[in-house]
Symmetry: C2
């Protein structure tokens, strides 16, 4: 990996030179003060700004080829039926090609780490590593209270763990949800995660129905209370959605230091809700991240859009233009996520992993007296991201990703498989 020198690049509104070496940010000095190593690639970044690569903390990457599935269905449950019909047809080849498309889209929109939950995780790991971004995957346990399925899911988790624990990815345990997984398997999976020092990825409180059904099934306990009663919640749990929460749920999630992932585009599009308790969760000690969810519900993997939509909804439903700040939202897609995984990245800082997006400030969207980050989030789109560096290596240069035409054309052939 050759060294890189990014010259004349804006970092927090100040012109700097950034050197990257061995995958890390080696130095950040005032522009013009550095001399490149003879072996360094020198990149003039005049008119550009550096921002940290984003984390997409809840997605189903291989659903990238399922945009629009079930969109014509009137009810949420019939939408899910359509998704399941399609998912019955997919295979590892499909998931590999679809994951490549997802990684391509993530790179083009500035994401360098993603937290995935889907079938055939090994195909997603392969795609991400080939393309140079950081995958966190899991084996998702879903037994529908069926003993035979439960046995298969144990086996699946163990095998996936053996296969992926040293495969260059983050491997987590996963419980699909409290309504699709038996109590026995919830406990088994939680225990498996603790024995192996893994994170635990779960869908939690996505819909009002989930909460109501849980209360009925578990003597009035909410999903959060139920999981807490089982002893599952701790700082290694990452709970996608966390949308329908009581005050007591918020307190429990804070006390257990759970990480909650808000997926506004998916929640809004499916009509699931929008009152994510950002302020309350944070002030109770919850670590907040953002995600896109899968493309069958949110339709793209663009974290910049996710940031903006999250902010708009927070300001709108609170009726308070200052409830969640730009910085809060940016932290949720960078440092908060890095903290959850224990990674030294998510910031442009000496010694950190070099996950950097280079933003082109040349369009009308940046023509203002406002700071770069305000213009980036409120005004611009992800196509302002000119180049992306992940773990110290260029994965996109001037909007081009190596092999992108081939990735798209090979994936196109997979679409026939899922035409219902």
């Amino acid at each position: 990996m050759s060294d890189i020198l990014l010259k004349n690049i804006l970092v927090d509104e100040v012109l700097k030179d950034i050197t990257i070496s061995g995958g890390l940010i080696k130095s950040i000095l005032p522009a013009g003060s550095l001399h490149p190593e003879p072996s360094a690639e020198v990149v003039d970044c005049s008119g550009m700004a550096a921002i940290p690569g984003f984390f997409n903390m809840h997605t189903h990457a291989a659903m990238s080829l399922m945009r629009g599935v079930g969109e014509g269905q009137r009810e949420l449950s019939s939408w899910l039926q359509e998704v399941w019909k399609v998912e019955a047809r997919i295979d590892p080849e499909f998931c590999y090609h679809a994951s490549r498309v997802a990684c391509l889209e993530m790179i083009k929109t500035g994401t360098t780490t993603f937290n995935d939950m889907y079938f055939y995780p090994e195909t997603t790991v392969r795609a991400a590593l080939e393309m140079g971004i950081r995958p966190a995957v899991c084996y998702c346990v879903l037994d529908l209270n069926d003993e035979e399925k439960a046995a298969r899911e144990k086996d699946g988790t163990e095998k996936a763990y053996e296969q992926l624990k040293d495969a260059g990815c983050i491997f987590s345990a996963s419980i699909h949800s409290i309504y699709t997984v038996s109590e026995k398997m919830i406990l088994w999976t939680s225990d498996f995660a603790r024995r192996h020092g893994l994170k635990l990825h779960i869908h939690l409180c996505e819909t009002r129905t989930e909460v109501e059904d849980c209360k009925e099934a578990h003597g009035g306990l909410t999903p959060v209370e139920y999981l807490d009663r089982l002893g599952v919640l701790d700082q290694n749990v990452i709970a996608a959605h966390s949308l329908w929460l009581s005050d007591s749920d918020v307190e429990i999630l804070g006390k257990r230091k759970v990480t909650c992932v808000h997926n506004i585009n998916s929640n809004a599009k499916l009509g699931s809700g929008f009152r994510f308790m950002f302020d309350e969760l944070r002030s109770n000690g919850v670590n907040i991240c953002l995600g896109t969810d899968g493309c069958a519900s949110s339709n793209n993997l663009d974290m910049l859009e996710t940031i903006k939509t999250s902010l708009l909804f927070q300001k709108a439903w609170r009726g308070d233009k200052d409830t969640v700040t730009l910085k809060d939202a940016l932290n949720a897609v960078t440092v908060n996520a890095a903290k959850f995984f224990g990674l030294n990245t998510g910031r442009i800082e000496e010694g950190a992993i070099a996950d950097i997006s280079i933003v082109d400030l040349g369009s009308s969207f940046f023509l203002s007296n406002a700071p770069v980050l305000s213009n980036l989030v409120w005004s611009a789109h992800s196509d302002s991201i000119d180049s992306v560096i992940a773990s110290g290596r260029f994965v996109m240069r001037h909007r081009k990703v190596e092999g992108e035409e081939e990735i798209l054309s090979l994936a196109r052939r997979q679409l026939d498989k899922i035409r219902v």
Copy 2:
């Protein structure tokens, strides 16, 4: 104006050839069935789709250089103070350059007609006509109950009308709002509009405060009831925002066939609200359009983003994923707006004015079995718009607008004027 032949372009999912002549769509025939006129420019549009140019039905174009103004202010009223501080410094030169930037951004995001309300409308008309898109402007009456100001506003309206009535734009009368304009001037402006056959552009029911203050000032009447009592409302009135409405307001607006413009990004970002009564307004006979508002509140002029955000909010706050359809939203930025102005455009149809965006389907955002329009709105961004034709003339080709570097660099010099 030379003829254009768009070959192999998707129109409503079917491959067509489109010929454009004299500013109009002359024919739409199955792909391959046409032979170009010798003088026609032939454009191969394989892998592209044609959609109608968008209408941005409420904006303040020359605020394009004011992104981020007052963003650090905690209260809406102090935000407005910041905006006014900046606006005290602007002049026709500023408005001309800022309008050019706005037109550039509108073209790049597929807008070919915009309905503006701002100072020095003649500068905005000049910018738009030079750049080839269709401006609707007004002289905005704002007298703050001051007799002297009222006299100046009459004079301003009359002079602007004389100057702009034959200037190649749509010229409307305008009342800033019921809380900034005296009853006398509301009546005078409404009468002026009727005498000259003009549209009437007004801000209406943007905030809860506006409604409460109106009730207090006018014996319990809402702003809609108040204007109706004055006899102002009819099918020539275009009411921006229309956000805080009673059931009776909705009925009145429907009965009077008013056009209402929803500006979700601005409303959400300023914390003004989000419960736009799309379904109720439409079923009561209101003509619904969408707009971005000015860049000091909504930060960009991207109608594709506006469509998506509007749909997300409608689905979210209703808790119903099917409340407003993609088609409803697309109509709101095309045919509904065209109908208001009595223009034969907003659709890809023989005989219509040729306002066409050519969408590049080559990215991951379109790699699905879903229809083009679903992918365009739900998944893609405006940078998928490869080229734009307005009134039969290319105003953007392959993402390049003539003179764009110069437009941006000349405008950049105006930023110093408004640095507070």
